[in-house]
């Protein structure tokens, strides 16, 4: 990998992000009675998309919002403008990543979803999000934030609305913990504006649909597991190389499983909730490939995992896959709405680096330091920041946040008593015989058993 390319500046990036920041500052104070500085931020966003098909609608929305009279449709237009700007940032960052990884480029594109009828719950969510925009992050209080709870509860039971429900649930929990907004010492302005605009766009009917791209048959070679969680949801995503049975070119795919959860189910409890629903997690822990027959796949390269279409295959060392197959694999396309820097997670194999640990852990590759995001290593697993610091090679995900590229370790090879040992972040995904792992599993089993017992007695009465 060419780390030098990741250190170079990208033309136009700072300007695009400056317009995003200007809008984000307007949301901090809220758009009920905007001050001149906030009006300026709205204008800056509108100017940034002046050369696009969004221009007229966003200019109108910015004008109305600056006068404190924006309607819900105007807020949607502003969210769309911000999303489009970050989409362009995503594209520029990805071009650079493709050059750095040196992998062949996928030619596929993902079509936009069709329009659908608006559901009442989507309308309710949009209304709540509009209230948030008016109050601003500094104006949030328990009354405003509490409006999300009934919407989320009603949405969670409908699988078609799970994406927006999960997003709103995690977002609202952060807002609840941050009330009253007037007392906040600092505000995660980029993050909350991200969550707000994404939720806003997901209230457009059909926006959450990703088109299918048929089925795949062939061999799946896992690289590693990425875990994402908030207080009441968890997702495990396996990144893997897929080799088609018909001899076509290998391609990168993902397979994920997610579930809402009580906030007291943490650590190894997450694996226990997910494990029964995806046999791939066990295969990853055991270091095996899987043979797929007719597995559905989206246009974005996400397998819609179904155990009936998969069976456990031969042993497959992730580091062998990373060294030999990964360099020839094509990257999947990204759906229009998913073009956002936070969504970037490009599998890479790194070796021959020097590790440094000044402010944060870094891998220095050919003289260029790359920050290692050790905070993303899940606690319920055998991989630790210390093991990463002592490693000689690494399978990771290249990401970008707050102005810099960084690598999230999925697995490392280290030398223990002159032997090379691989340690995987998702090593406990399918279960473990590790002493610390067994203890964590036991504690998690007990927690879920207590909650189920309580639920059995107290629910439906």
């Amino acid at each position: 990998m060419r780390a030098d390319l990741l250190a170079e500046t990208i033309a136009g990036l700072d300007e695009a992000l400056a317009a995003v920041d200007a809008f984000d500052r307007a949301l901090v104070g809220g758009l009920l009675r905007p001050q001149p500085a906030q009006a300026g931020g709205l204008t800056e966003l509108a100017h940034a998309v002046a050369g696009t098909p969004l221009a007229a609608r966003v200019a109108e929305a910015a004008g109305k919002a600056a006068a404190g009279s924006a309607s819900e449709d105007h807020f949607v237009a502003l969210a769309a403008a911000r999303t489009a700007l970050l989409g362009s940032v995503h594209d520029a960052l990805m071009v650079r990543l493709e050059e750095a990884s040196g992998r062949p480029r996928g030619e596929a594109t993902v079509p936009a979803p069709g329009e659908r009828q608006a559901a009442n719950l989507l309308v309710a969510a949009r209304s709540w999000l509009s209230d948030l925009a008016r109050s601003g992050w500094q104006g949030i209080d328990h009354d405003v934030v509490a409006g999300a709870a009934p919407i989320v509860s009603a949405m969670l039971v409908d699988p078609a609305l799970r994406r927006l429900a999960t997003l709103l649930d995690g977002f609202a929990a952060e807002l609840v913990a941050s009330c009253p907004g007037a007392a906040l010492e600092r505000i995660p302005a980029r993050r909350w504006a991200d969550l707000w605009s994404r939720a806003m766009l997901l209230t457009l009917p059909g926006a959450a649909e990703v088109p299918m791209a048929g089925t795949v048959t062939g061999r799946l070679l896992p690289l590693g597991v990425d875990v994402q969680e908030h207080a009441t949801a968890v997702q495990a995503q396996v990144h893997a190389v897929f080799e088609p049975a018909d001899g076509g070119a290998p391609r990168l795919v993902r397979a994920g499983v997610s579930v809402p959860k009580p906030d007291t189910v943490v650590g190894a409890g997450l694996w226990q909730l997910l494990r029964p629903h995806m046999s791939l997690l066990a295969a990853v822990s055991e270091g095996r490939s899987m043979d797929l027959v007719g597995m559905p796949v989206t246009a974005e390269g996400d397998l819609l995992w179904n155990d009936e279409h998969a069976r456990t295959g031969e042993p497959a060392d992730a580091f062998v896959t990373a060294r030999i197959v990964l360099p020839t694999a094509t990257d999947p396309a990204t759906a229009p709405l998913d073009r956002h820097p936070a969504r970037i997670a490009v599998p890479v194999f790194l070796e021959g680096y020097a590790t440094g640990n000044d402010d944060a852990l870094t891998f220095t590759i050919a003289g260029h330091p790359l920050t290692v995001d050790t905070d993303r290593i899940p606690t319920a697993g055998p991989l630790t920041p210390a093991a990463v610091a002592a490693s000689g090679s690494c399978i990771g995900l290249l990401r970008w946040d707050a102005g810099t590229y960084r690598v999230q370790p999925l697995a490392v090879e280290t030398t223990v008593r002159k032997k090379t040992v691989a340690i995987h972040a998702g090593g406990w995904a399918g279960g473990t015989t590790d002493k610390a792992g067994i203890k964590a599993e036991k504690a998690a089993t007990d927690a879920v058993a207590v909650l189920r017992e309580r639920a059995g007695r107290l629910l439906r009465k």
Binding site: E174, P188, A233, S258, N306, D375, A447
Partner: protein
């Protein structure tokens, strides 16, 4: 703006720390109160809904059928003390103290020192009107166990990375 303010994945709340749930299955810092559900020691069908308000430390404890707790007259009952201890395990003493506006005495606060500091102000008895909404939030919380997992992609979770930081 700082890097944290310009981060899409800035960590805003630390994840709950694991704890045993048998005695106090539900704890939350919400609605301006520390509130939760405490299992009865004697009757497996009964739970108590207990709470302590921020600033005033007004306390309340009653069963889920809205019968007052015999112990919560004039001062914190054992249910409330258990609730405070478990909240400290789940969120860390510092966050609980901050939420309830308890001025910390010398040294690291604990469940006991927090309860003692709040008791010492002779807090008023609160009303038990909040019991019903807290109990329904507990049921909502339990209902999360009944929701089906999905293998459909959830790209929004990219904004919610794990963190090794603890509360």
């Amino acid at each position: 703006m700082s890097d944290w303010e310009r981060s899409s994945t800035a960590r805003v709340i630390a994840p709950a720390r694991p704890r045993k749930l048998a005695k106090v299955p539900f704890v939350e810092l919400a609605d301006g109160r520390l509130q939760g559900v405490v299992s009865s020691g004697s009757d497996i069908e009964r739970v108590y809904v207990s709470s302590v308000g921020a600033r005033t430390y007004a306390f309340a404890c009653s069963t889920n059928n809205n019968r007052p707790c015999g112990g919560a007259r004039g001062s914190f009952c054992n249910h409330i003390r258990a609730l405070i201890n478990e909240a400290v395990l789940q969120y860390g003493a510092e966050r609980v103290a901050r939420y309830l506006r308890v001025e910390s005495a010398d040294g690291e606060p604990s469940g006991q020192t927090l309860a003692a500091a709040m008791s010492a102000t002779r807090p008023p008895q609160g009303d038990t009107k909040a019991a019903a909404p807290v109990f329904s939030r507990f049921l909502r919380h339990l209902a999360y166990l009944e929701l089906a997992p999905t293998t459909a992609p959830l790209p929004e979770m990219q904004w919610f990375p794990p963190t090794r930081a603890v509360a």
